[in-house]
Amino acid sequence: MKKNKDVIIETAIFMCGMLSIIFVISIFIFLFKEAISFFWDYNFIKFLIGKNWYPNSNKPLFGILPTIIGSFLVTFGACVVAVPIAVMSALYISEIAPKGVRNILKSLVELMAAIPSVVIGFIGIRTVVPFVKFFFNIPTGLTAFTGSIMLACMIMPTIITISEDAIHSVPWEYKEGAFALGATKWQTVRRIVLKEARPGIIAAVMLGIGRLVGETMAVMMITGNSANIPDSIFDPVRTMTATIASEMGEVVRDSAHYKALFAIGLVLFVITFIVNFIADLFLRKK
C-alpha cells in the first residue's frame, strides 16, 4: 500500500517536472509553425532589415528593423540606468547596512518587484512623460528615454535580489583574509567581494534584460509607438512587443499580417532565449 503511494507520487512529480519542458517545446513549435509560412511569401532578410511597417497597405510592407532598434534602445537605456544603481544597492544591503535597515530594505525591494507593469506605465504617463518633455525641451515626452527610466524601476528589484544573493554567498573567510592583510573595507569589497560575485551579478543583469525585452504594457503606454528609426534616445520608438500587443487583437486570422506578428514573436523568442542562455552560462561558471 505504502509502496504504491510512493510510486504514484513519484510519477506525479515527474509529470510536473516534464510539463515545463513540454510547454516550452510546444510553444516553440506553435510559434514556428505559424511564423514559417509567412516566410514562404515574404523574404526573411527583407523582414529583418526592412525600414517600413505598413501591414494594411495595398502593397503591405513588413519591415521590423525600426522595432528591433526600438526594443534594443529601450533595453540598453534601462540597463545603463538600472545596473549601477541596482548593484550598488545590493552591495549596501548585504555588506554595509545594519541588520535592521537591511531587513526593511530587503522586504521593500521585494515589494517593488510586485508592482504590475501597467501601474508603472500609468505612473510614467502622469509624471515622467511631462517632466521629460519639459526638462529636455523636446516636442513630446513619449520617448525611448522615458521608457528606459520606467523600465529601469521595473527591473531594479530583480537585479538587486539576485545580485544580493550572489554577494551574500561570498565566503566570510575571504573577507577575513583580506582584512587580515590590512585591506580597507572598500578595497575588500572591490577586489574580493565584487570579483567573487561577478558571475552572479552578470546573471542577474541578464535575467533583467530578458524581462526588459519581453516587457509590453509599460512601453506601449510611454514610448510613443512610432515605427520610425530614431535619431536619438529622445525620439519616440516602437518595440517588438508593443507591435504584437497592439495589432494582434485586430487582425484577421491566417492573413499575412497575422503570420507576420507571429514571426515577430519568433524573433523575440529567439532573442530572449539567447539572453537567458548566456545568463545560465554565467551562473553555471560559478
Partner: protein
C-alpha cells in the same frame, strides 16, 4: 465517513452545474458585439435603451478590423465598423462560407484636434495631408509658432486610421498608396490622443467629433484654399458641408438569430436614430434631422 463527505460534495457540484445550465437556457441567448472603439458608447446606449432585447449582451472594442475579423471567425454576432468592409475581408468570409449583411446606421465626423494654446485654428485638406505625411514639420509653416509638429495617429487596424488615410491622405482615390509618416505616434485609443493633445502644445491628432470639448481645440477644415473653412459642428455634418465625414455600419451574419434582427430594426427606427443623435453622432433619417433644426 470520508468517502461519504466526498460523495456529498460531488453531488452538490453537479447540482450547481445543472442549475447553472438550466438558468442560462431559461433566461436568455447571449449576443456578442465587437468592433470599432468609436461606436462602443453608441451601441452600449442603444442596447441599454432597448427594453425588448432580453439577452446577455457583451460589447467589446478593439477596432473595426477586430470586429470584422471575429465576425469572419464566427466569434461574434454583430461587428461594429466605422468603415465599409474591404474586398479582402469579403474574400476571407466567402472562403469560410459566411454571408455578411451590411446595415448603415449613422454618420460620424472626424475632428482634427490641437492644443488650446496653439494659435492655428484652420487648415486646408492639403495642408493636413502634408502634415500627416511629414512634408510640413513645423507649425510656423501653417501660420503657427516655431514649434515641431508631433503627429498623433491611431493604430493601423483602427477604422478611424483607415478612414482618415483614405479621406485625407489619399483623397478617396482607391489606387493611391500614400501612408502616414513613420514619424507619427500610433496611439492605442482616441482617449490617449485626446490626452496627449490636451497636455502637449506641439501635438495634433484626429478623433470622432464626440471628443470635442472645451479642453482642446478642433480645427476648421477647408476642402481647398479657395473654399470656406468649416468647423465640425453637428449642423455642418448634417448638411454635409464638413468634409471629413464617414458612415457607421453594423455587420451581421445573414443566418442570424431573430433577436439580432429586432435589435437592428430598433437601431434604424426613429427611437434608435434619436439615441444616435443624443450620443453625438449623426443619424441617417430626415425626420430626425428636422427635429434638430
Amino acid at each position: 465517513m470520508r468517502y461519504l463527505k466526498f460523495f456529498l460534495l460531488l453531488i452538490f457540484v453537479f447540482f450547481c452545474l445543472y442549475m447553472q445550465t438550466r438558468h442560462d437556457n431559461h433566461k436568455c441567448i447571449s449576443v456578442q458585439i465587437k468592433g470599432s472603439d468609436t461606436m462602443l458608447n453608441l451601441i452600449q446606449a442603444l442596447v441599454e435603451k432597448n427594453s425588448k432585447l432580453k439577452a446577455n449582451v457583451s460589447i467589446t472594442g478593439g477596432g473595426s478590423g477586430a470586429g470584422l475579423a471575429s465576425l469572419i471567425n464566427a466569434t461574434c454576432d454583430i461587428a461594429m465598423s466605422s468603415r465599409s468592409i474591404e474586398k479582402r475581408e469579403k474574400i476571407l468570409a466567402e472562403k469560410k462560407n459566411i454571408k455578411i449583411a451590411e446595415f448603415k446606421i449613422g454618420l460620424d465626423g472626424l475632428a482634427v484636434l490641437v492644443n488650446k494654446n496653439n494659435p492655428v485654428d484652420k487648415l486646408t485638406l492639403n495642408q493636413l495631408k502634408d502634415i500627416f505625411m511629414a512634408r510640413i514639420t513645423n507649425w510656423k509653416e501653417v501660420g503657427g509658432e516655431d514649434r515641431k509638429i508631433v503627429i498623433l495617429s491611431r493604430e493601423s487596424n483602427s477604422g478611424t486610421h483607415i478612414f482618415f488615410k483614405e479621406r485625407v491622405l489619399r483623397d478617396n482615390n482607391k489606387n493611391a498608396i500614400e501612408e502616414f509618416s513613420v514619424k507619427s505616434l500610433m496611439m492605442p485609443s482616441s482617449q490617449t490622443i485626446y490626452d496627449e493633445v490636451f497636455r502637449n502644445p506641439n501635438a495634433l491628432g484626429y478623433v470622432g467629433i464626440g471628443f470635442i470639448n472645451s479642453g482642446v481645440k478642433a480645427l476648421s477644415i477647408a476642402v481647398d484654399i479657395d473654399s470656406e473653412y468649416i468647423y465640425p459642428t453637428l449642423e455642418n455634418i448634417l448638411n454635409g458641408t464638413y468634409s471629413i465625414l464617414r458612415p457607421l455600419y453594423l455587420y451581421t451574419n445573414t443566418k442570424q438569430k431573430d433577436i439580432i434582427k429586432t435589435f437592428i430594426n430598433f437601431v434604424l427606427s426613429d427611437h434608435g436614430q434619436k439615441i444616435i443623435l443624443e450620443t453625438d453622432f449623426v443619424p441617417l433619417k430626415c425626420k430626425v434631422k428636422n427635429k434638430v433644426k
